[in-house]
């Protein structure tokens, strides 16, 4: 039995021992709290325009300044946490569902099904991921939902490969052989015994990917292919700031800082979890 099938609470507790991991966890907790309490914390309505305040610099009234329509940047960033969290949950969830199912089927059924699924995965991996996202958005049309679907699809191959590898390891374990021996059906063995015991590394991958999901959703929005105005999506805020960087530095600076902090947090957390699950990588 490899360490990958170890019980998760102990591993998670060990992973959260380091300073970096705790810092990452703190950022993630603050981020989640902000998504919940954005309406209470935001000093202004994120959509409320006040043209007399257009592009006003940071001040006591507007800590992070205001954009070209006089909307409060801080309030827009706070509401933007919700889009970011939505993107993480939806894109990671989609990739996990699609990739996890494909990997489970490939690993468990083997043979032709395995060969077919893994060839599809190979083709998807042959595309640079950003290009694949662009093709998918081109087909579906630019919007937040579609950009999140695109990001979910580009991460699918990684989950499929990981899940397949896990299933191949787990299904030779004694308890799976025993379950088969007492006559448990294929589907039951797959869902009750193989799946739960293959799942933890997949969840680690999901944490590790969360930061990247935030950056990529924001990137597509920045290009005009994701969330559309007046949505307070962080990438869309940066795109607005791009138009004013010569005169109003604050419009782009603060949303970018928010993305940066969240990504640092998730990366620290993900690195710590990965080190626990894959001791070979610990030296790196």
């Amino acid at each position: 039995m490899s360490a990958t099938v170890a019980s998760s609470p102990g591993v998670v507790r060990r992973a959260l021992h380091g300073t970096g991991a705790r810092f990452g966890l703190a950022i993630a907790v603050v981020f989640l709290a902000l998504t919940l309490f954005a309406p209470l914390l935001a000093p202004y309505d994120p959509y409320e325009q006040d043209l007399s305040n257009s592009l006003s610099p940071p001040s006591a009234q507007h800590w992070f300044g205001a954009d070209q329509y006089g909307r409060d940047t801080l309030s827009r960033i706070l509401y933007g946490t919700r889009t970011a969290l939505l993107a993480i949950v939806m894109a990671d969830g989609l990739a996990l569902l699609l990739g996890g199912s494909l990997g489970l089927l490939a690993g468990y059924l083997g043979g032709r099904v395995d060969a077919l699924i893994m060839r599809i995965v190979d083709v998807l991996l042959a595309f640079p991921y950003l290009l694949l996202a662009l093709i998918i958005v081109a087909v579906l049309g630019p919007s937040l939902t579609n950009s999140v679907i695109a990001i979910g699809i580009i991460y699918t191959p990684q989950y499929a490969r990981l899940m397949r590898g896990q299933v191949l390891t787990v299904q030779t374990a004694d308890f799976v052989v025993a379950a088969r021996a007492i006559g448990a059906g294929r589907v039951r063995v797959m869902l009750r015994h193989v799946l739960p015991n293959s799942f933890t590394p997949v969840l680690v991958l999901a944490t590790l990917q969360s930061g990247a999901v935030v950056v990529e959703t924001a990137g597509l929005s920045f290009l005009g292919l994701g969330a559309q105005p007046p949505s307070p999506d962080w990438g869309a805020l940066l795109a607005e700031g791009h138009g004013y960087f010569l005169t109003a530095w604050w419009v782009a600076t603060f949303p970018g800082l928010a993305i940066f902090l969240v990504v640092v947090g998730f990366n620290l957390l993900g690195d710590a979890l990965r080190d626990q699950y894959d001791p070979r990588l610990r030296a790196r």
């Binding site: 042959a126 290009l131 081109a138 290009l223 005009g224 970018g256 993305i259 940066f260």
Partner: protein, 334 residues
Amino acid sequence: MANYVAARLVQLLFVLIGVSVVVFVSMHLLPGDVAQLLLGDHATNEQLHRLREQLGLDQPVWVQYARFMREALHGDIGISIQTNRPALTDVVTAFPVTLQLALASLLLASMFGVPVGVLAAMRHGSHLDTVVMTLTLFGVSMPIFWLGLMLLVLFAAGLGWLPVGGLMPIGLDPPHITGMSVIDSLLSGNATMIAASLRHMLLPSVTLASVPLALITRITRAEVMSAATADHVRTARAKGVADGRVILRHILRNAAIPIVTVIGLQLGLLLSGAVLTETIYSLPGLGRLMVDSILSRDYPVVQAGALFIAVVFVLVNLAVDILYAALDPRISRA
């Protein structure tokens, strides 16, 4: 080795067929009718019918795919709706801009990443190591479109040292030879032109270099650290070989293969990942062309660009794999 290359080439063929199917199928899933899209809303039924026949849209899908492949292999991937030029021509015109940016970034990232990684590994656990590792974490976490904007705010808007974007100042055009502004300026031998082209490339290449720089530094550090614990290194030290010589001849030589591979694999990613940098600095590269074509629904160009980038990406990665196998005989025998 020959067998390995042959096997990889066969694999490449299948991947390329897969890539072409993905591009073909995705353009077929587009909402709406391609003929309607090409002719606009005022087209008559007869015009639409004639165009559908001309494009083969009335044929079965596999016939359409065969036709698409036949034409693609002859370099014909349709006509741009925007420019009325062959879509592939637009793509090939934009490519040198992206290639120049990707190569410049890779050069910067390797030039700084490898020495810094070696230094961090040799002083493993020191303050310097901690600072380097923290910076690499920032490097991989910083959205490059934000980094690009911040560099513009600081060096273009604030200090006024560097231009805000574009390849060259208006009115200063190097002769069009390779399509890469820096190379063309160098070929022209005009000092003003060379300086201007370099000034315009500085911020974009620093921006795009941030992620590969962090990755190359990390992998160099990790590989040097693991190579440094090998028995032959201890023997060399015990024999009294000088530090610098141990690092160069005994450690770096063994760490070099994975480092070179990571550098090579970055090139493919940079070629496709340049789109955000191109947008920030208004560079007329391939990524920007793709996004503009998606936004204006110029699908022939999207299709041509997607095929072109995917093929280049697959070929670059294949070249890196073969190089890797040539450097390390264990790979091709495995």
